[in-house]
Structure formats: structure tokens, C-alpha cells
Amino acid sequence: MSDEIKIAAKGVDVFYGDTHAIKSVDVEIDDKAVTSFIGPSGCGKSTFLRCINRMNDTIDVCRVTGDIRLEGQDIYDKDVDPVQLRARVGMVFQKPNPFPKSIYENVAYGPKIHGLAKDKTELDEIVEKSLRRAAIWDEVKDRLDQPGTGLSGGQQQRLCIGRAIATAPEVLLMDEPCSALDPIATAQVEELIDELRASYTVVIVTHSMQQAARVSQKTAFFHLGELVEYGETDRIFTNPVDSRTESYITGRIG
């Protein structure tokens, strides 16, 4: 883990119309480390995650205020191109969303438009490597030309992970990437996350306390739109300060 701060959020509020979904959140996310966001359903984890690559821009009723910086640069600055930003800050969504295209195209699309491959051979290599890292290569290598939407839920999710890492983003945002996966695929994705942190910043939303404890170095606990507690994962899971954190992670009625 490096001591660098990759993403710094200050006084971030998010509204969906009248719904105040994120309330004045300050957080600094470490570079080359895994940070997990935990908290009860509806507390704003996905909302806050989407702020980091301006995915909320695509939701009409959504309004984001405050300051979010990626390596010191204000990502909401009018000079920042959200498409370019999303190439640097990749995302795996809560619901798998493969393009209605072939498995191959799903992964090759990003590297192609960002000019990451010189020729077909290089592109093939990127596709294979990405699918391998996403622990799905063996299952799809003989059907790369078939539609991604024809895969099972868990396979689609791994395809989307492969797609997200194919463009080699600096930051990878993952919203419950393992919710549709069996224990083996989950372990493989966790292994991948651990591997990614050598070169990337990973932020993962998860409902599994054990997963957060296993994969992340820092943990943020959200509750009703507030960031209640943020710190070293080891400490959060052995000795949380806030009683709401303790209640949540020990499975108590808050």
C-alpha cells in the first residue's frame, strides 16, 4: 500500500429530487489499495460510488455538490470529459450489463476505442488476458462470438469485470461484483482484486462483511447517507468506534 491519496472527496452531497441520498461526506481513498464501502441497503453506497466516475450525471434527477478530486484534479470541473474520466475510473455495476454484442466485442470494445491495441493479435491478447483475470476464460473461450447476454448471471458479471479491466483503468469501482457468483468464482474475483491493488486503486461495495474484511485495507461504513466510520479494515472489524458500525457488522438490530 502506498501512502498516496488517489481520490479525495470533501463535503459531498447527493440529491435525487428531494431525496437527500448522501450527506456531507468527506473521504480520502488510498492509491494502490482496496477500499470497501459497507452499510445497509439504501444507505447510499452505490450513489457515492457513482459520484467517483460521474455516473450520476446520467441520472436526470440526480444532483451532486461538493468536491471530488482524482489525483488533485476536480473531476466535476467543466473541462473534464466524463468519457475520458470513465476510461481512467472503470466500473463494474451491481447488475451485470453486457452490451448486446458478442463476448469478444464486449471486452474488445474499450481497448479498441481507446487505441490500446496495435493490431488484431494484440487485441486478442488483451481479450484473453482480461477474461482470464476475470476467471471466466475457460468457460467462454470456445464461444467468444456468441452474445454476452446469453451467459448466466454469474458469467455475465465476470464478463463485465473482464470488460472493465481490459482498458487498464487507474481506479476500478466495483458495486457488489460477487453478489451473483458462486463461492469459487467469488474467491477468484477476490484473488483478482488483491492482484489489482498492486497497480490500481479499487473501491468495492459489498454486503458481505467477510468479503470486506478479506479484500480491503480500508473500510467505510455508511448509514442513512452519512459516512459513519472510516478506517483500517482490521480495526473496523475488531474494534469499531461507533456503535452503529458495531451493530451493523455484528448483525444486530441497530
Partner: protein, 239 residues
């Protein structure tokens, strides 16, 4: 610690069950200490035999606690306060089991000592020392139930007195042995007994430290002064 219940009520019952086993163990160990001391004092070999026999119950309870804790960890993946609860339960049961062993050892030596002439003055000192340790154990278990950090800290500090008593006894025994070599066998046994009681105090201290960890999430700093200087002693006045 949290007063509110788990959503999974079985988890609450499991945690309560394993803590109840600890309290049961604690009660048995308190009795073992008191009875072992009494047996020694009164040369009551029957009572000493009972102490030795009852140690099996303590051992069995420790095994139950270990099995229960393993099951809770496997099934519930406890975190935070729950994690500290199961970890401390495991350690405390190990401490109690060791204290039980020392009491048993005391009882064994009682059988031997009852065949020998009494060593003058030793009985009272050992009785006082055992009483101290017994009280410390009771307080540390109370501190555990009440989650009382102050009481646990108090017990921790009191261990120094036990160490001092042991030092004093060590000197006494050396003197007796030098005065009259016929005292050596009895004094050797009595010395082991005193040493065992001193070790009981260390385990009680460890229980108190577990209480502090359970409540605060941190082990206390080791600022306790070590009063046992006998490792460096070569003559009675050096201990």
C-alpha cells in the same frame, strides 16, 4: 459491548451459553483453590483427593468451551465485540484450566506433605497467599461479568502482593533448609506449592487483562512491576 440483540437469536444463545460455561468453570476453580488450601492446612487427604478428582470436570468444561467457540467461529464469523467475546472466552477458559491444574498439583503434594513433620510458619503464609489469589480470581470473574475495567485493573495491580508473598516464602524456605537439612524435602514441596500459587496469580492477572481487552479492544500496557526476583537469588537475603 452491545446490549441489543442479534438478528439471529441463536447467535445470542450460543454466546450466552459459552459464557455460562466460563462462569461454571470459574466457580469450580474457586472451589478447587479453597479446598486445596484447606486440605493442605488440615492435612485432609480425602479433601485433597476430591480436588484432584474434580479437576476432570474443569478440563471437560474447557474442552466444551473450545468446541463451542470453534463452532461459533465457523458458523457466525463473529466480528468486533462478538469476536473479542469469543477470543477472550477461549483464553480465559485456558487460564482457568491452568489454575485448576495448579490446585490439583497442590492437592497432590498435600498427600505427600501430610506424612511429614510440619514446617514452622509456612502454613499461615501459604494460607494467606492462597486466600489472596482466590479473592483475585473471584474479582476477575466479577469484572468479567460486569465488564468492569476498573476492577480488572485493580486485580492486575494486586498480583504484585502475591509476588511479594512468594518472595518472602522463598526466603523463608531457604532459611529453613539451611538451618536443618531434614527440612529439605518438605520445603521443596512447599516451595513448589508457593510457586504454583504465584503462577495462579499470573493466570488470574491474564484473565483481568482479557476483561480489559474485551471492553476496550486493547490489551493494557505492561506497566506492572515484576516483583518476583527469585530467579536471581543465590542466598536467602538476595531474593
Amino acid at each position: 459491548m452491545q446490549d441489543n440483540a442479534h438478528i439471529a437469536s441463536v447467535f445470542d444463545r450460543d454466546l450466552e451459553g459459552v459464557q455460562a460455561s466460563i462462569m461454571k468453570m470459574g466457580g469450580l476453580v474457586e472451589t478447587a483453590i479453597a479446598d486445596a488450601a484447606k486440605a493442605l492446612d488440615r492435612r485432609d487427604t480425602e479433601l485433597a483427593d476430591a480436588v484432584r478428582k474434580n479437576d476432570k470436570l474443569i478440563d471437560a468444561l474447557e474442552e466444551t468451551v473450545s468446541a463451542d467457540v470453534a463452532r461459533i467461529i465457523a458458523k457466525r464469523s463473529p466480528a468486533a465485540g462478538d469476536l473479542r467475546t469469543v477470543l477472550t472466552v477461549l483464553k480465559i477458559s485456558a487460564n482457568l484450566e491452568r489454575i485448576g491444574d495448579y490446585a490439583k498439583n497442590l492437592a497432590k503434594r498435600t498427600s505427600v506433605l501430610s506424612e511429614m513433620p510440619a514446617v514452622e510458619g509456612a502454613g499461615g503464609s501459604i494460607r494467606r497467599m492462597t486466600k489472596n489469589v482466590g479473592l483475585m480470581l473471584k474479582d476477575s470473574l466479577d469484572a468479567y461479568i460486569q465488564r468492569d475495567v476498573d476492577l480488572a485493573e485493580d486485580v492486575r495491580q494486586r498480583d504484585a502482593e502475591v509476588d511479594q508473598m512468594y518472595n518472602a516464602l522463598f526466603r523463608e524456605f531457604l532459611t529453613h533448609m539451611m538451618e536443618d537439612p531434614r527440612n529439605i524435602t518438605a520445603c521443596m514441596h512447599l516451595h513448589f506449592i508457593a510457586k504454583n500459587i504465584e503462577r495462579m496469580g499470573d493466570h488470574v492477572t491474564s484473565i483481568s487483562e482479557q476483561v480489559i481487552y474485551l471492553v476496550t479492544g486493547e490489551m493494557p500496557d505492561d506497566e506492572r512491576t515484576k516483583e518476583d526476583r527469585t530467579p536471581y537469588a543465590t542466598a536467602p537475603d538476595e531474593a
